[in-house]
Structure formats: structure tokens, C-alpha cells
Amino acid sequence: MQRSTSKALFELLSSMRFAISLLTILAIASVIGTVIKQNEPFNAYLNQFGPFWFPVFEKLGLYSVYNAGWFLVILAFLVLSTSLCIVRQTAPMLREMRSFREHAREVSLRQFAHQAELPDALPFADRQARVAAYLTHAGFKARTSERADGVLLAAKQGSASRAGYFLAHGAIVLICIGGLLDGNLPLKIQMWLGSKQTTTGNQLIADIPESARLGVNNWSYRGNLFIPEGRSANVAVLSVNDGILLQEVPFTVSLKKFHIDHYENGMPKRFASDIIVTDDLTGESFEHTIEVNHPLEYRGVTMYQASFEDGGSTLRLAGRNMLHGPAAAPLELEGQVGETLRLNHPKFSYALELTGFTVFNVEEMGEGVESATGMARLREHLGSGAARQDSGREMRNVGPSFTFKLRDEAGQAREFQNYMLPIQQGGRWYLYTGMRESQSEAFRYLRLPVDEDGQIDTWFAIHNLIFDPARREELARRVATASFGDAPAAAPMRERLVETASNTLAMFGERGYETVGRFIEASVPEAERERAADVFVKILQGLVWEAWMSARERAGMEPITINEDRAAFLRDTLAALSDSLFYESPLYLQLTGYDHLQATVLQVTRSPGKPLVYLGSLLLVLGVFAMLYIRERRLFVLLKHEGGDLVAMSSNRKAIDVDETFERHAGALRDLLTPSQDGAAPDQTATR
């Protein structure tokens, strides 16, 4: 009973059906990991799937499918099934490879799909000699078996096809085992055994407990080495689930310099780290440059250029007031990327986290020119593959930018991205600052127009006046005077305009155009709204203009007159003023200077399974080609003393070329055994 159960189990596991089911399941399971982004921070998943599904998916291991227990079990079954399949096939295959089947009986030969009669006119010995010679010539190995009524020449070729089976299937077992060694199974086992535990990422390396450290003897790992310029590191960080482990490496790596080169069009051309490696045991050291596609292997550990980050650049910032009320002098700040500064002020209190800095930002600029149509369009696409110079688009480096988070006292953070230099858009220049609530959103940009000197001082001066309630009356008066002159006769009109203008400004100060628009919708009949909106915009423009003039007077500058450029600046300023009311920060942080410091991220790996996998790959290719392209053929020629000769062929594959091959061999044999008419046949007696 016991025996038969285990036999049945063996049959099942080694069966083709089981294997194909496994292949299918493996394929489907693999899809999951390509749909759900793997190994992201758990917070991102929580946002994506919500509090109900997040833990369910976590239990199922969907955030790291390829390391999940159940996935490894499928792989293990594949290895088991393939191994058992090999075991099961070995004996029959070897028998097949060795045997010539020279004992095949005539009745069974006559049932072959490929069989034909042969001429039997020549003497028996002659026929046998000719056939034997033919078989050798045609590349067959043959064995002769004497029988009562004649002789059977059993020949075969292409037995190596069977060896291909062993190679290919053995290779799969090898590759899977190698892969398992290099996966995080060894790590998992260490963690299961209870000796190691992950810890959280945001702490100093020195504070990380022993239980989260792996020694240099750990034989399989993949982690990241983070090294700022001028510093060194000898522990790599391994991310496991949502925590980290530290891996000690047997040497220290110092980064001298990190290089990013760009092509003319701004695309990155080269990432390279000039490093010094010092062996911790012997103290020897050497210099080397690691580049993408050019790794370094040292003491069994391979280092690759994985990515780069900011290494703690120093940023100098001017915090400019975005609140309403009297102007304040810009706040001078300085900090390093990675640092958190405190912004304490009577009106607000924030933690300013400097999160990133990039020197180069290459963006596609320009709106593109209208494409031609018809034949002209086709003609544009003829010629060389070089990019067109007149496409109206170009890649341009728009200069440095930095990112930061403002965290309020409740712990809520908003993320910002500010560019250092003005960027041209539609022929005018703006400073861009982006804001978003969470990582998953795109930045929404506020564009602050720069003035004729390329500065944003004018915009801020106007901003401070326009949104200062104490100045409303004054600005409204200036507008009224500008409109109606200061003649006493116009006083009633002036007064009315002063009232309207200062109300408009009060409304605008709430939520910009949005409040004004609502007011128009609520109080003006539909037919007249457009005109009313025009009037409001005119008034607002007048107010901004007056704020500008007033700011100039205050600064002791010459008065100016309106022109086209200034009108455009006015419109931009107004739009930015309206948008700035949705900018959720009390300050605009302007980057005024920086000292750049890069850091490189090197991936360090130790993969003991690699040779196994590479060997398996080689065998796999050999095996697949052998199986698919070496054709096993068996040719049987039965020669009988009494005549009635027969040729038959079998093959392990049913394909059309088997028919062709058989025809070729049968035809050749027929020719060879047909006595020639011109008397050249070796034995005349055969021709009666």
C-alpha cells in the first residue's frame, strides 16, 4: 500500500502534465510581481491599496513576490519535478541511445509509417555489402543481426539528441539551484533561525544593533554602499521587507570624485566613481574607476555603479515672505541636504527638511513648430536619421533645483521643488516652484515672473503691497487718481472707484481670481458677466501697476511708463499673485548659492551561485540545440535470402522532413540494388 502511494506520487511529480502545469503556474505567478511594483516602501503600498487590502497583500508576500515563501515552493517543485523526470527518463533514454533494435520483427517493420520494398535481384551477399556500405556512407551506425530467413541491418544516427535532453533538463535544475543560492533564501534562513532582525532605516550606523548586522562571512548578499565624495564606507545596506540590515564588506571604499558627463543635448553620457579600495585585512589599497557596465570585483565581492545621490551639498537660501501683512526682510538660511532646519517665527513653526539637490536639470523646451502636411510632411522624414534642427524643440539644461519638505507641528508634510534660475516659457522668464501633498502626485508649479533685471524682487515688492490690508486704501486711491485725475469735479467718481477697487482687492486677497469669479457669478446677470470680468481685471491690473509704481517710489527709482513688455509682466504678476494664494508655505525659499557634494551608490553583491547558473546556461543552450536540431533516425534494412526485401525508417519526431529523408534513403537504396542495364553491374549472373 505504502509503496504504491509513493510510486503514484513519483509518477505524478515526474509527469509531463505536472511539469506543464507548474510552468503555467510559474508564469502566472511571475506576472503579479510585474504589475505590483516590488520592494517599495510600505507607506506607498498603504496609500495604493488602502488599509483593508494592504495587510492582506503583505501576508501574501505580494510586495516581494519573488522572495515569497509560496513562490519559492513553486520553484522548488519545478526543480523536484524536473529532477524526478530526469531520474525517470534516464534508464529508458540510455537504453534507447545504446540499442539498435536489431531484433525488430518483420511484422512490426511492415507496420512502420515509413517502409518500402527493395529490389532483390542482386545476389544476397552483394546486396548486404552494398547496403552496409551505403549506411556507413550516409552517416549511420549499423548492426547486423542474422536471422533464419536473412539478415537485418539495423542502423541509427543522431542519438546525441537524447543527450540533449539530459543537458537541457539538468541545466534547468542547476540554474534554479544557483538562483536559489543567490536569492535571499540564505538570508531568510538566517532570519528564521532567529539570530537576525531588520531595523529601521533612519538611524545612525553606529546605533544599529548587532542583531541587524551581517558579518563579512555571509556568503550571499546584495546591498548598497552609499559614499559621499571625500568619505568612505565599509558597510552596505540591505533592504529587506520594510527594514534594513547592515552588511559588512571586507574592505573600505572611499569616493574621491563622482562624475556625470552629458552629451550636448543634455542626455547623460557617463556615470563614474573614482574610488580607493583599502583591504581591511592587509591594509593594501588601490585606485579604480567604476562605471556603468564596468564593474569591479574584489575579494569575491562585485561592485557596480548603481546610482548616485546628493552627498550633503550645502545650500544657501533666502526665505521670502509669502504671508499677508507688512513686508519682512528675507530670511537667510544655510543647510545641508539631508539636514532638518527649524523655521520658528511668531506666525508659524515648521521643520524644513532639505531632501535633494540637482545641479543639472535637462528639460525639453519650446512648444515645437507646426508640422507640415502631405508630401511636405513625408519629405521631412526623408534623409538622414539626424534630429531636425528646426523642430522648435530642444533639450536645455535649466540649471540647479532643490527639493525640500515643510513639516508642520502636526507632522503633516508638503514637498516642494524650487529651481534656482529663471526658465523661459513663451518668450518670458519665470522662477518655478513646485508643490505637492504626497509622493504619488505630480508637482503643481507656481511661476513667479522675473523683472527687467532678471530678479524676483519686483514681484515680491508688489506682493507685499497688494496683500497688505493696511495698504488697500492707498492703492485704491492711486488707481482712482490715475483714472480720473485729481480735479475736484471728479471726486464722486473717484470715491466710487476707490470703494470698488479696495473691495476688489479685499476679495482678491482671499482666494484670488476664484473669489472674484464667484462674486461675479453671484451678483451679475449672466449676459453681462464677461464685461464685468473685464472691468475687474482692469481694476486689478491698475492696482498692481500702482503697487509697482509705489514700490519704485519707495526704493527711490525713476517712474516708468507702460509698454508691451511691462503689460505682459503685469499680467504674469497678477496671475502669479492669484496662484500664490494656493501656495501652502509662509515662505518662498530662493536658492542663492550652493556647494555641491555628490555621493555614489555602489551595489555590492556576492553571488556564489553565479558559476552554477552560468554553467547551467551553457548546458541549456547546448541541450536545446541538440534536442531540436539533432534528428534521431533509425533505418532498418531487411534482406532475405528468398527476396522480398524491405527498408523501414523510424524517428522520434513526426515532421515532414522525416518523409523526405525516408524517400531519399529508400530511393538511393533502390538505385543501388537495381542491377544496371548497361552491363556494368558487378555480377552479371544476377540478371536473368
Binding site: T34, D182, Y304, A386, Q603
Partner: protein, 381 residues
């Protein structure tokens, strides 16, 4: 005993060669020799090895499949002519008539596209009207189109160096270029089977997938400007790209071909076009041959990809979506081969399977770039 019978004098494969075989081989040897002598200084040891390996490989293909000799000769002549016309100045693409309207890269690829569409029409006409003339025309157009497309890629390779020595690279580095490669590979594989099985009737179906690829190519170039030569990002600056990508596309081309034959098999099984298409047995054989060659090359390509990944990203396998989908494709065809070869399965199921296989392959080829994010960043739509 005398054995000088014709069937016994096993003809030696060398003795079987005709004059053109020898001319072809000699031309290849001389070509490679000249390249080594003249440009050896610019080539590293891998370049040398690859160049030298190409000689016997191309000789073997040309000797085994005769029309390939003429094809290669035409491509060589046109490509060299194109390079000669350029005289090292990219601007001449706009000035020289032959460049502007025939053999600069974009023009040649446009010719390829037009010829492929015409070939599709001719094959269909041939099939529906039972016109041998139609089929022969289709075949001729397909050959010429393939010559133009291949010339276009070679010209593009040269042009990229004219843009700047540091920009120059083999034109198989983005989605646009590999689509050209895909069309060419599928066409060549089909042309081989056309001769091997001595029937042009499957052309109508195979041309459908090629036309679809060309249509995509045109859209991609006209609406996205994808044809513009871009420099290589660091991750692609590797020798492995040159071997990994073309190997992959033998696989993709063969799978696409098999799927289209699968469609034909399914139609015939329903009695549609049954009297016009070749017998199911023949088409199934082509389908098997195509999947076999595709699987073999795809196996190599995946391994080459793993070797490359080991160098570029530090691990030979890290379940990046592109890698994972390559594995899925591979498992799928492994299962297909098992079903046919060891289970002896035939008919509609295998044909359907091949068609679905193409859907999976297409997803691995472009879907992954469009819908999933990963490290394979060479082609975003």
C-alpha cells in the same frame, strides 16, 4: 568489390559549391580583411572576434540558403554607396539626390515600408486570385524591401557616427530601431521558409504582422519623431547590447511568423481559404520549425541578457518586469514544444497557443515598456 555507384559517392559539401558560392565566400573574406586592415585600430578585441565570426556564419547561411548571397551583396553595395555619397558630411543627405530619395537611412526605411505594404497587397492578391504572378511579385517586393530596410539600418549606423564619434552606435538601441529590425527579421525568416517549403501562399498572412509593425513604425516616427538618432544612455553602452538585441529579435520574428501561420491553420480548419492555403500538415510543420528556431534563439538571448544584467546592474537576474516577461514567454514556448513533441499534440489547440503566444510576446516586447516601469528604459512611448 566495386562500389562506385552514384548513390554511394557521398557528395562532399565542399565539392557541391558553385562559382557564386565561392565568389560570395571570397568577397566576405576580403571584406572582413579590408575592414580589419583599415579600421582595426578603432576596434577592440571583441569587435575583431565578432567580425571574424561573421565570416563563416554568413558563408554558411549563404551556402545553405542561396538567395541570401544576392541579398547580402545588394545590401553591401547599397550601403557602401550610401557611405561613399555622404563623404563624411551629414548635410549631404539633403543635397545629394540618391541620398535624399533613395539610400539615406530614413529614405531607405520609408522605401522599405512602402515596399512591404505593396508586397502585402501582392501576396493577398496572389492568394485570393490564385495568381502565381501576384505571389511572385509579392516575393520580389519583399526581397527588395528587405534590402532597402537593411541598407537603411547600415546607413543609420554610419550617420550616427557623423553626428559625432561619441554619439555613434549600432542602430538597435531604441524602440524605433528595433521595430525596423523586427520587420526585417520576420521577413527574412519568412523568405527562407517560402523557399524551403516551396510555397508562397503563407506570405499573405505573415505579411499582416510585418505590415502592422511597419504601420506602428510610421506612426511612431511621424507623430513622435522617434526616428531621430539619440545618443546612448550609459546603461546601453555595452558590447552585450550588440549581441543580445539581434538574438532576441530572431526569437520575436520567429514567434510572430509562427502565430500568423497559426491564424492560417485556424482558418483552414474552419474551411476558410482551405483550397488556397497549403495543407495543414505543411503549415503546422512551418509553425513548429519557426517556434523551434525562435525558442533556441530566445534562450540564447535571455542568457545573454542575464550576462549583460550581471555587468550593468550587478545581478544576472532581478525580476525586473522585462526579464520576468521574457521568462514567461520562454516558459510558454517550452510548454508548447513539450505539447507538440512529447505529447504529439497537433491542430487547433497548438495553433491557438501560438497565436496567444504572440500576444504574450508582444506584451513582453512593447507592453512592458508602455505599462510597467523597470530598468529597461530604452523605449517609452
Amino acid at each position: 568489390m566495386e562500389l562506385a555507384h552514384p548513390s554511394l559517392t557521398r557528395t562532399h559539401w565542399l565539392r557541391d559549391r558553385d562559382l557564386f558560392d565561392w565568389l560570395y565566400a571570397v568577397a566576405l573574406v576580403i571584406g572582413a580583411g579590408l575592414a580589419l586592415a583599415k579600421y582595426g585600430a578603432f576596434m577592440d578585441v571583441y569587435d575583431d572576434i565578432v567580425l571574424i565570426i561573421h565570416v563563416p556564419a554568413l558563408v554558411a547561411i549563404g551556402w545553405y540558403w542561396k538567395p541570401f548571397r544576392g541579398f547580402l551583396a545588394a545590401v553591401a553595395v547599397l550601403s557602401l554607396f550610401s557611405i561613399w555619397l555622404y563623404q563624411g558630411d551629414l548635410a549631404r543627405a539633403e543635397q545629394v539626390f540618391f541620398l535624399k530619395y533613395l539610400i539615406s537611412s530614413q529614405t531607405a526605411i520609408m522605401w522599405m515600408s512602402a515596399l512591404y505594404f505593396m508586397a502585402t497587397g501582392a501576396y493577398w492578391l496572389g492568394l485570393l486570385a490564385r495568381s502565381e504572378f501576384g505571389e511572385k511579385t509579392g516575393s520580389t517586393l519583399l526581397w527588395i524591401g528587405t534590402v532597402m530596410g537593411t541598407t537603411g539600418l547600415f546607413a543609420r549606423w554610419y550617420e550616427s557616427y557623423l553626428l559625432g564619434p561619441e554619439i555613434g552606435h549600432i542602430p538597435i538601441s531604441n524602440l524605433y530601431e528595433v521595430f525596423v529590425l523586427f520587420s526585417l527579421m520576420t521577413a527574412l525568416l519568412y523568405l527562407y521558409y517560402e523557399l524551403r517549403y516551396d510555397t508562397r501562399r503563407m506570405g499573405a498572412f505573415v505579411m499582416l504582422v510585418i505590415s502592422a509593425a511597419v504601420a506602428f513604425l510610421l506612426w511612431y516616427s511621424f507623430s513622435r519623431g522617434a526616428h531621430e538618432i539619440q545618443p546612448l544612455i550609459p546603461a546601453l553602452q555595452s558590447y552585450w547590447m550588440k549581441v543580445h538585441v539581434p538574438t532576441n529579435f530572431v526569437g520575436y520574428g520567429a514567434f510572430a511568423l509562427a502565430a500568423m501561420i497559426g491564424v492560417a491553420v485556424l482558418l483552414v480548419e474552419r474551411g476558410i481559404l482551405a483550397s488556397r492555403l497549403p495543407p495543414v500538415k505543411v503549415m503546422e510543420d512551418v509553425m513548429y520549425k519557426a517556434i523551434a528556431i525562435g525558442f533556441a534563439f530566445f534562450t540564447i538571448a535571455t542568457i545573454l541578457g542575464a550576462l549583460w544584467a550581471a555587468e550593468a546592474w550587478g545581478t544576472y537576474w532581478q525580476w525586473d518586469p522585462k526579464e520576468t516577461w521574457a521568462l514567461i514567454v520562454w516558459l510558454n514556448y517550452a510548454a508548447w514544444l513539450h505539447m507538440r513533441l512529447t505529447k504529439g499534440l497537433r491542430g487547433a489547440i497548438l495553433a491557438w497557443w501560438a497565436v496567444i503566444g504572440l500576444a504574450v510576446t508582444t506584451f513582453a516586447f512593447i507592453g512592458v515598456n508602455m505599462f510597467l516601469s523597470g530598468l529597461h528604459s530604452y523605449g517609452n512611448l
